[in-house]
């Protein structure tokens, strides 16, 4: 039994190696890391620039945040971008000019902010109650997202491509008469994908969070990544056994990538309040992943219980489908 399992493991490893799955994972790792380090970390939005046209020097205590322009045309050109605020101080009473942003409250704030820069600055600074700075938050956030996407979509696809290859080669038919347990057939694949996913998780976290921060979150992240990896691999296995060819499967994959993961990102990333998202199983998996990156305690034992149940259920389903498929193949 044990020897049989080892040889299946070896065969699966060789198959994965030949399907260039690792190459794809490495490519994704490089692509994601480059994007995070060179682009995402630097994303920010600055406060509205304020420009003043003040030929008579009416305002003497203007904040250093305000830029002086020399002509009224210059001022007009500056505020026409729809983001900046212009102050026209050429007449007796200064006039604040803005191009509307389409939101009344934002317009009000822009005007009030520009006006406040004309009087002496206050020394008030906002109190910070969190531990992350902007960069670290960005890193944690985007890393958890990429990891979720990679584990949810790519693992699913990779396992399926493996199964289709085996179907084509007739491996499933051969397995029907081999004295090897069907569970071994499933578990060997799960083990390999779990292992490769965990290595991926480890590399992605350490490269993008830094060694110490990455190392600190890894134990918790590993649990979430493991759960997600096993669930997605089992789902991929089930779909691949049931669906007749790879083309139809890739359709399923597209639906998964777009209609299942996109709402999850939208709900978790922005402040949109959707009540129905609580019924979306992937949402909880994603939040588990994200919270583990932010080291915020979130889920109770019921979450793990449901995950364990889902894994057992999926395993039984795959086992049944495989038995059925082998019987069909003769």
């Amino acid at each position: 039994m044990w020897r049989g399992f080892i040889s299946i493991l070896k065969k699966d490893f060789k198959l994965i190696l030949s399907s260039k799955f690792f190459l794809l994972a490495l490519g994704s790792l490089i692509l994601y890391s480059c994007y995070i380090n060179f682009v995402y970390v630097k994303l920010d939005q600055d406060i509205y620039p304020v420009y003043i046209y003040d030929p008579m020097n009416t305002h003497t205590r203007v904040s250093s945040e305000v830029t002086q322009v020399d002509t009224i045309e210059d001022l007009k050109e500056k505020y026409s971008d729809g983001y900046s605020v212009g102050i026209d101080a050429s007449s007796i009473e200064s006039e604040i000019v803005i191009v509307t942003s389409g939101i009344t409250s934002t317009d009000n704030f822009r005007a009030a902010y520009a006006l406040s820069l004309l009087s002496p600055e206050s020394s008030y600074t906002v109190e910070n109650i969190g531990q992350n700075d902007k960069e670290m938050k960005n890193r944690r956030e985007i890393t958890s997202e990429f990891l979720f996407f990679e584990l949810a979509a790519v693992g699913f696809l990779g396992l399926a491509s493996l199964i289709f290859k085996e179907k084509q080669m007739g491996v499933i038919r051969v397995h029907g008469i081999l004295p090897v347990n069907k569970s071994a057939f499933i578990i060997s694949k799960l083990c390999l994908f779990l292992l490769s996913d965990l290595v991926f998780t480890c590399l992605l976290s350490i490269i993008n969070l830094g060694l110490s921060a990455g190392w600190n979150v890894l134990p918790v992240v590993f649990i979430q990544a493991g759960i997600l990896s096993i669930i997605m691999a089992l789902a991929g296995l089930y779909c691949a056994i049931r669906v007749p060819d790879f083309k139809q499967f890739s359709l399923l994959y597209l639906v998964l990538a777009i209609f299942i993961t996109t709402p999850v990102f939208l709900a978790a990333q922005t402040n949109i309040n959707w009540n129905w998202i609580n019924y979306h199983p992937m949402y909880h998996l994603f939040m588990g992943m994200k919270n583990s990156y932010f080291s915020t305690p979130s889920v109770g034992s019921s979450y793990y219980l449901v995950c364990a149940l889902a894994i057992v259920l999926l395993f039984l389903l795959v086992h049944r489908a495989l038995t059925h498929e082998m019987a069909k193949e003769g």
């Binding site: 191009v99 009344t104 934002t106 006006l115 902007k134 597209l254």
Partner: protein, 338 residues
């Protein structure tokens, strides 16, 4: 002509192609149905307050400057401010006005708003007394919405590569590629057919998407068509490259995935982050999708004076990509003779 008929017949059975054809159209419809309000609430500053803490007047003042979320107690408010997904600014009563707090990971703009809010609150009377002129925006299109529309349109155009790439890879897998070698069909005919396949798919999908979600002035329809045609042609060429290099379906899907990320992400980022006219902005024209993206964005904003640059860039891309492909083909042909 007959060849093209067969190609179209063949592609009709391919479910990936049908989905990638319909997807942008469906997304376009969805964007159209979402009202502008749901987008604008995203870019509003959000303040978090505690019930019965601030006076009624202060709450009204906050409401005129952003959106408000009310919480039962300070702990709930703190939890919501700490939530990494939120950009919420916590506002509490102070002895002479209000005080603010943040989690410290917010955008620069919200940190400054947090710093200045108490001062603004103290000076709120001055704002009422001052003269404020609000100029209506030139275009009524919501910024976020037009960005989404342009992303959908660019996706639709460059999805065209899926049609011919998938068809070529399918032929390779089924062994039809070998049969093609002995059929009385020249290499140029084959390329023309495959380009037409991707091109027509891309153009059709984009026009359908455009019908569902874009409103441009009638004078600009010709320009829009020109951009669509040029971009779809480049996309068809890209499909040709993918079909040429990919050996299996899995590889093909990977290449398409990488191509779509490469074509979609940089233009969006350069558009949002890099100021127009800088070197980086100019460099971004090396990707054809950037030219399409900027052109469409200008068109939606009603500024077409710079659109020639996009069209010229697209034209150059068409010629360069086509030439490169012929060189590649020629090279392969010579190699097969040896």
């Amino acid at each position: 002509m007959k060849g093209i008929k067969y190609q179209l017949k063949n592609i009709r059975r391919d479910k990936i192609c049908i989905i990638s054809f319909l997807l942008p159209v469906i997304v376009g419809l969805a964007i159209n149905m979402l009202s502008g309000v749901s987008f604008s609430s995203l870019s509003e500053t959000s303040f978090g307050i505690v019930k019965n803490d601030l006076s009624h007047k202060s709450v009204q003042w906050l409401q005129s400057n952003g959106s408000i979320a009310e919480f039962e107690n300070v702990d709930e408010l703190k939890a919501s401010v700490l939530d990494p997904a939120s950009e919420m600014i916590g506002v509490l009563r102070d002895e002479n006005g209000i005080k603010t707090f943040l989690s410290g990971d917010e955008l620069q703009i919200n940190r400054i708003i947090g710093n200045t809010l108490p001062k603004l609150y103290a000076e709120r009377e001055a704002v009422v007394a001052s003269i404020i002129r609000v100029i209506p925006a030139a275009n009524s299109n919501d910024g976020m919405k037009s960005l989404l529309i342009v992303i959908t349109m660019v996706t639709a155009m460059f999805m065209g590569c899926t049609f011919n790439a998938m068809s070529m890879i399918g032929e390779k897998e089924d062994g039809i590629a070998f049969i093609n070698e002995v059929l009385p069909m020249t290499r140029t005919d084959f390329i023309a057919q495959k380009v037409f396949l991707g091109f027509s798919g891309g153009v059709l999908a984009t026009i359908l998407t455009a019908l569902t979600c874009i409103r441009v002035e009638s004078g600009h329809i010709f320009l829009l068509l020109l951009i669509i045609i040029l971009s779809a042609f480049i996309s068809a060429l890209a499909g040709l490259y993918i079909g040429h290099f990919a050996n299996g379906l899995m590889g093909g899907i990977t290449y398409i995935k990488i191509l779509m990320i490469l074509f979609l992400a940089p233009p969006i980022i350069t558009y949002l982050v890099v100021p127009a006219g800088s070197t980086l902005h100019l460099l971004s024209y090396l990707l054809p999708s950037s030219a399409t993206f900027y052109g469409l964005m200008d068109m939606l904003n009603g500024q077409v004076q710079n659109i020639e640059i996009s069209i010229i860039a697209l034209l150059v891309h068409c010629i360069v990509w086509l030439l490169l492909f012929f060189i590649l083909e020629n090279h392969r042909y010579k190699k097969s003779l040896v």
